[in-house]
């Protein structure tokens, strides 16, 4: 009988070294690719192929699934900003948004400013839909608000409008770790005042803006929208991922392109590497 090999340790070390070297080479090659702008741009361009294919096969006006009352989640999870930092927003909360107004402008014939009462007086839509977060959770809730197309009909977009940009109240650039909450508030106020563009923002194309289920929601499950879910007004764009549903809306702007708007990618997370078309 052939004796079992006495010393297999060198071979094991060798194999281990070979696997480690291959693994490291593959990972570092992938990381180098991930950091190459050209490569990332090629990958990201796929989102427009997806968008085109979705519009072709899934219908531009097709409706997102709606559910029944029994499907509603016991509590709708709050995510991202739960309470915008800063005295400006705190003041709005304390006055129950009495002085808050939604500005609608950009490339339109008649810019508007709408109070919460104005919005509640407009035609409304209630829908029970599923919110899908990129983090891997979903929740079903009932939303009531003004369909965006009613507002667009009032301001009359110019023919060259391509996108609708949503500006929000929550500043994203504050450094929460380094200051106490009070210092933080003042700091954030200063940031917001000096740089109004430091807040969350999002955008969508004109197709989605006129979609029946695209609403500016002021009620969640039949009650006024809580602060943690974006009071006084948040966007619902039901056929897209959660980060597209901007909270704490302050201003709507119609634009021809994203050039000159922040990072130029059409949204806060988009400027940080997320794809703009959030229908996946």
């Amino acid at each position: 009988m052939k004796p079992i090999e006495q010393n297999s340790a060198p071979r094991r070390h060798f194999l281990r070294a070979v696997f480690a070297a291959f693994g490291a080479a593959a990972l570092s090659a992938c990381d180098r690719l991930s950091n190459s702008k050209a490569f990332v741009d090629v990958l990201q361009s796929t989102q427009y192929l997806n968008r085109g294919a979705h519009k072709l096969f899934a219908g531009r006006k097709a409706m997102a699934q709606e559910f029944i009352e029994a499907d509603i989640a016991p509590s709708f999870r709050s995510n991202g900003t739960l309470m915008p930092v800063g005295k400006l927003y705190e003041g709005m909360v304390n006055s129950n948004f009495a002085n808050w107004k939604l500005e609608v402008g950009g490339l339109v014939e008649t810019p508007l400013a709408l109070s919460l009462a104005d919005l509640r007086a407009m035609p409304s839509r209630t829908q029970i839909t599923r919110h899908d977060c990129v983090e891997g959770w979903s929740a079903i809730a009932k939303w009531t608000g003004v369909p965006l197309h009613h507002i667009l009909d009032q301001v009359k977009p110019l023919p060259n409008d391509q996108y609708v940009v949503f500006r929000c109240a929550d500043a994203m650039d504050d450094d929460e770790d380094e200051a106490s909450p009070d210092e933080n508030k003042e700091k954030t106020d200063a940031v917001v005042a000096a740089k109004p563009d430091s807040t969350y923002y999002e955008s969508m194309d004109i197709d989605d803006a006129y979609h029946i289920q695209t609403i500016l929601a002021y009620d969640l499950n039949g009650k006024p929208l809580p602060v943690s879910n974006g009071a006084p007004l948040r966007l619902r764009i039901e056929r897209q991922l959660g980060y597209k549903h901007a909270k704490y809306l302050m201003k709507i702007e119609l634009v021809e392109s994203f050039d000159g708007i922040r990072g130029g990618k059409g949204g806060y997370w988009e400027d940080n590497g997320y794809e703009w078309y959030g229908g996946i």
Binding site: L43, Q47, E135, R239, G273, Y274, G279, I280
Partner: protein, 204 residues
């Protein structure tokens, strides 16, 4: 290749997030660019297109060229002998002579399970994660058990593919790495010789 890259981005997306949310994660707190989600969305979309087009072309070819019926679908006889095939595998005994030129029954079943099971499942469960594709036919995602079930199926199918690749590569190595690699590239395959049965009392 695209499978490997998809696996890489899947692992970034699937594993980096839960890990990077932990305060003691060695790479520190997540920056949006470091967490895996944007990569999963962009990387997967791109490679998924290549992957689906490639897969459709492959299945069309496998059917039209009779490759599927001739080589992939196991014969009744082979299925009956599956027990001995499993035992041979465990003993690392690989077919020799004429039998080495054909896929063996476990290989057939593994290929069929991947081509018509795991690969379509990973694609369909992936589509079921898109809020925009819900609208194609209202309620189709519920057939998979809803969005959360689809996430699990997508992940399990992807992990199943990784396991298949690992076993597949392992089998290629143990059954003659050089011979297989050469036959994949050049078509030249040295058929392993049947072992001459050793007669009683003789020294081999």
């Amino acid at each position: 290749m695209s499978l490997t890259l998809m696996a890489y981005w899947t692992s970034r997306a699937g594993l980096m997030i839960p890990l990077s949310r932990r305060a003691d994660f060695p790479l520190g707190q997540p920056s949006p660019a470091r967490n895996g989600w944007p990569w999963h969305a962009t990387g997967i979309s791109f490679f998924a297109w290549l992957f689906v087009l490639n897969g459709v072309a492959y299945i069309a070819y496998a059917i039209s060229s009779d490759h599927l019926r001739r080589d992939m679908i196991p014969k009744m006889q082979e299925l009956r002998n599956i027990g001995s095939s499993i035992v041979d595998h465990i003993k690392f005994k690989h077919p020799t002579g004429e039998a080495a030129k054909r896929y063996y029954v476990l290989q057939n079943l593994a290929y069929l399970a991947v081509i018509f099971g795991l690969l379509p499942l990973v694609v369909i469960a992936g589509w079921a994660l898109s809020p925009r594709l819900d609208v194609v036919w209202t309620g189709w995602v519920d057939l998979l058990g809803g969005r959360q079930a689809a996430r699990t199926l997508h992940f399990l199918a992807a992990m199943g593919l990784l396991v298949f690749v690992a076993i597949h590569v392992f089998e290629v190595i143990v059954s003659g790495l050089w011979n297989h690699m050469r036959s994949m590239v050049t078509g030249y395959y040295r058929v392993p010789q049947d072992k001459v049965p050793v007669k009683q009392g003789e020294t081999p």
